[in-house]
Symmetry: D2
């Protein structure tokens, strides 16, 4: 019997609160680049371990430091003069002991990690020349031996929690949250890039809701070689505005939405947000894992948040990663039940116990008028139990990239 | 006229909520080491800039990556075999243009930063040999030139906000929060170290309150050379327990407090939390800035939190740092007003405007029974205005280390 | 009037000396990789400076450290597990002061250097995957400002010597020297690679002449994926032997030549010289600039040698590079004069003087029987003077890669 | 029976040759710093291995890259602004397999190496602040496993040669060679430093002999904090000149000796060779192992030289190190025999054979008039055999620092 508790939360629903602040750092933001590389490295290691051993060995590559380079963007196309330096670190099983042959066998952690990082950058930043604009260094080290051992013993079993930790999640997203999230996704979609090739990937969206009014502040890196002069630049900004306005009309019906794009621009002084590569990391902006979006893709100061950096952590037994993702998955399913307005989930682990047996799984619900907690409790528990029963499925979803970590 | 809003918050006070989770990563935790080094470097740069120019030049050294080493602790004293690698990065004004002499002058950013990092480590980790156990590398780069310029123009004026950002703060701390915070402070105090020299500085405290019961889980690195065998180890753990029990009696009157220390220990298998240096960074645990404690010293998933990494940011115009500290200072003063039970403060900046003119400063109050918001509004605004009037004082407090950033 | 001295050298000609030791580290040897990268970076910087300023600015990129990786070669194709780490360092003009605009302008030294290094590796090592098998890091720093200034003033003039230094050269090569040099060139030629794709680029040739007998010891990295088993390996070795035997017959007529290939192989124990990438740098062999071949492509312990590392030095005023190349060019031309058996040239610079006015240029000649030094002196001086008159031509030959530096 | 050959060399003795060029890079020169650190690291590893295993395990730490820093020396005391970066690399046995416990044990290679490097710098550079002026990084990697195995089997036996290589040596030093060597030693002696504290350790001495005239060119870094102004600077230079003049009178009787100190100085323009730390590495001068002095402490382009970098190589089986030292020791002893004017020794190894059984040991002698090679041959062979019989003694001398490697 798992310790699952369902309670009613007597709180004002999010949409009725006077103020909301929501932020999303887009894919090309230095912190997101760090997150994305960390997760790409973890996935590549998972694949390598699976191919070699049929199981995932211990690793946590949730340490990536992006040190900004130096660039001279200019209309028509500038140049990078100093590459971005990216340090991969963290832990991984780099060697194992073949006890029969009495031999140490080294695993291709370094080469796999470096390659994964480069491939990720090429995929995300359309206009970077990975051969000259980036230095990828690697100081990933061997994890402690005990942990390797733990993994070997666990093969085909439910893994044991690596730590005393917790995860939090909630659903559904508020209007403002949806708008912020979808704005970045739209602007970074394949389709938009075809339409507006000058639009870089470093797109930061901040939403401030004050009653029924939402201010959407967007900082979007523009790629210099696609823009001949300030007039073309203005046109690019206008195209972006049009796309976002249309999206806002769909998502934020009934709200007044103000859109601000690249507010630090000063056309008279010739100050605009131009880049060579589409990311501010080209010009001194640094980034690291876990300082940006939470696993639901957002930074939400007035919602429950975990400080855990999910990206790059191993998807096998790192509860800091798994429980944050799981909490969101469970909250999402429960929020769709009739009568549920908002759902908050938190999961506590206990170190050394199977990860499908958390110490506590708390579910708090804000209900629609006329509904009672007793009506919903059973269904909510069923959802939670189903996810815990299939926890290895969550692991698989992570490895296959079906859930995001930032 | 500043845009300061005071509102009543109709919410259940924290102590009456069913559950609380609170965490503090102690001074020797790898994430806190990263925070502490980042802030030490910033302070040292401030001092250097002041001495050379009478003003603080632009810098943000909030990027420190701690890559774990490799150690073999053992009773009586083991050894480190692979040093901890620490990368300092971020931005700083590394050169200026002497326009009269038509000459570029380089500033001692690298040497000052490296020295500050080593001094900080020596101060915080009593048992580390900085000469062999740590490699301090430095890739701090030049900030963009425009920002240098901005700083020069600002000399002796109120600085302009560097970004659109926000800070959050609240007061008072709950019982659980106080207990978690004070437990780490007690265990890392000069006095306790004299009494229990075997107690390392990597002390992680997690508090879980369930109704009137608090579980305090402490992971404390024990230093091997002070402990001859497992019996002595047990005695050290007992001494720690006694000290914490006493503290809990003082702070958490009326609560049942359970204390768990080094729960992963397994005396039968000889598994104990021994270290050579007092930090888990010696054995593969990595750390980076901004992934640990918020500016109030705690991680509080169910309280408003900012994701901003305050440590290492410049105290002049980085609102991500200043407003988080300021929000806590204001909340703290207001919470002492008669009739105020809890106070939540958030401050929004507007890029390019003086930092004492925020776009909005929201104050939300949970009141004692019988009090009305109208009675308190004026006093609360006075407090907020006083702090904004004296915002350069906050800068000074940061530089002098009178407020913490993690 | 230049200080050119021509003297007769009363010494036994090289072919009549009892013993000779000659070595060549092939293109894929770690030391040669370092040399080659250093020179490729210098050439790329020359090109960049020329394009931007019409002149070559100060740089010396003669510091490259190749830190070996870790590989598991095996018949049919193994894998690299830890990348080779290559640190580019040295000095270059990274920024200049635009005195009119009162602005510092940064130059693309980092990006150009990193790209040049990768392109060089791709060209030289046919079987390396630069994206995963190599980490290229860069710590090239700004040179001292004075030197930049010197360069600016020198535009279109004969550059001034950067140091008190010297160069040495001789001609012709002995039979053994020719054999060693041509063996490596043959084995690393396009043609041979087509014929024997399994032959890697890390080919070290050592020639020992004892009277009329030459032992040629060749260590040649074999690429695993082209070789299925030990029998195929043996066939590859035999093919190499045949090619070298044929070459030896052409070059070393009248000498007995013994050829030893991969002498550390032990077929019974399965020990063979297999690699994944064609260089021993893949498996822990390190390299750095200036530790391998001299500018004539050889290491010749019993001939005059300079310790100067020519590769990577600037071709404008670094006499350590220019004079070593120049001495060989002059010796070569003089050695073709009738009556000259051997020619030794040394050139001394004086710091601060134009490089076409060396402090001394000594020419020592071993003459054919029946010839007198007086007959040859004038012609020899003419040759030396002609080269000094056209010293900017040497600079051009270096930049265009028409002379080798290692 | 060893293959030792003694032959007469019919050549002009060195003192009668018209020209000599001799150079010594002093202890504080960047290349010498690299050599010295490499050797200090090797010695420290030898000590560590001996303490732990009673034998020296495999290592070659002959890869050190010194990347110059940035300094602003000035009369009375300037400052370093960017630290010197020093990368330790090479190979060492970093872990061994405890076959009984079936466990990998890591050895303190990183911590020992970093500490040894710092201690060496503190000893050699009296005025450097290792805590802030230098970054010591370490990328020493594990050697290939086979080699570890070779070492284990060799315990207490004569080691087997690691490679096909050779060493060369000669004796006695010429007058010019002695003068160059002793000049640097005098200027870097404890005694001189007490007398002239302003004299730094980066002292490069170049000797050019033309017939009976020797030009001695000295570049000596002067330490700024001990020199108030240009007049004091001139006095320091004069003191140095006096000391060297006195030495030259003792060593170079019968020669005219001209002494040039810091020839690039230009007192009128205020250009002098000032440093903060006593080494030019503080200001952009880079260095690496094996590019400076040979094992006899000198660079002698017209004497036989090996390109081998001796510093940092293991003293057990690396013939590139041992044979160069051995050849000089043997040459030195033989040169003292009656009738011997000059002695040249070269030793060839054969890979895999005991190092006291070289493939060939050639001795060439220039004899005093009236002596015959037959009279000396036996004694010379005895000397060579005695050294080969006691080859483990050479290893001991290296480890104890009784012979120099640069």
């Amino acid at each position: 019997m798992r310790n699952i508790i369902v309670k009613e939360l007597k709180d004002v629903p999010i949409e009725e609160k006077p103020i909301e602040i929501v932020e999303r750092k887009g894919l090309g933001h230095p912190d997101s680049l760090a997150d994305g590389i960390a997760e790409a490295v973890s996935k590549a290691l998972c694949k390598m371990y699976m191919e070699k051993f049929g199981t995932i060995l211990h690793h946590n590559t949730d340490q990536v430091e992006v040190v900004g380079g130096h660039a001279y963007p200019k209309f028509g196309g500038g140049e990078m003069v100093n590459p971005i330096y990216i340090l991969l670190s963290g832990r991984a099983t780099m060697q194992i002991l073949d006890k029969e042959k009495n031999e140490i066998i080294k695993l291709p952690v370094g080469t796999v990690a470096v390659k994964a990082a480069k491939e990720y950058l090429r995929k995300v930043l359309r206009n970077i020349d990975v051969d000259k604009d980036v230095i990828i260094d690697c100081r990933i080290g061997q994890g402690s031996v005990d942990l390797v051992d733990v993994f070997e013993r666990q093969k085909n079993k439910i893994p044991l929690a690596n730590d005393t930790s917790f995860g939090v999640g909630y659903a559904p997203l508020s209007i403002t949250e949806k708008l912020v999230l979808e704005t970045e996704r739209l602007l970074n979609s394949e389709e938009t890039k075809k339409e507006i090739p000058a639009l870089g990937e470093d797109i930061k969206v901040m939403g401030l809701r004050n009653g029924k009014k939402i201010s959407l502040t967007i900082a979007a890196a523009i790629i210099d070689k696609y823009v001949r002069d300030i007039d073309e630049y203005k046109k690019v900004i206008e195209k972006i505005r049009e796309k976002v306005e249309k999206l806002a009309e769909e998502i934020a019906k009934g709200y007044e939405v103000e859109i601000f794009i690249n507010t630090a621009d000063d056309y008279d002084r010739g100050v605009v947000y131009l880049t060579v590569t589409g990311t501010s990391a080209e010009m001194g902006d640094d980034g690291s894992v876990g300082r940006g979006n939470r696993v639901n893709g957002l930074i939400t100061p007035f919602r429950p948040m975990s400080m855990e950096a999910a990206s790059g952590k191993n998807p096998v037994n790192h509860v800091g990663k798994i429980y944050n993702i799981l909490a969101n998955l469970i909250a999402n399913d429960i929020s769709k039940l009739e009568g549920v307005k908002e759902c908050y989930v938190r999961i506590l682990s206990q170190i050394g116990k199977p990860i499908n047996e958390p110490k506590a799984l708390d579910i708090e619900l804000i209900l629609e008028e006329g509904y009672k907690i007793e009506d919903i409790e059973k269904k909510a528990k069923e959802i939670a139990n189903k996810w815990l029963d299939n926890i290895l499925e969550v692991q698989k979803m992570i490895i296959e990239g079906k859930v995001n970590t930032f």
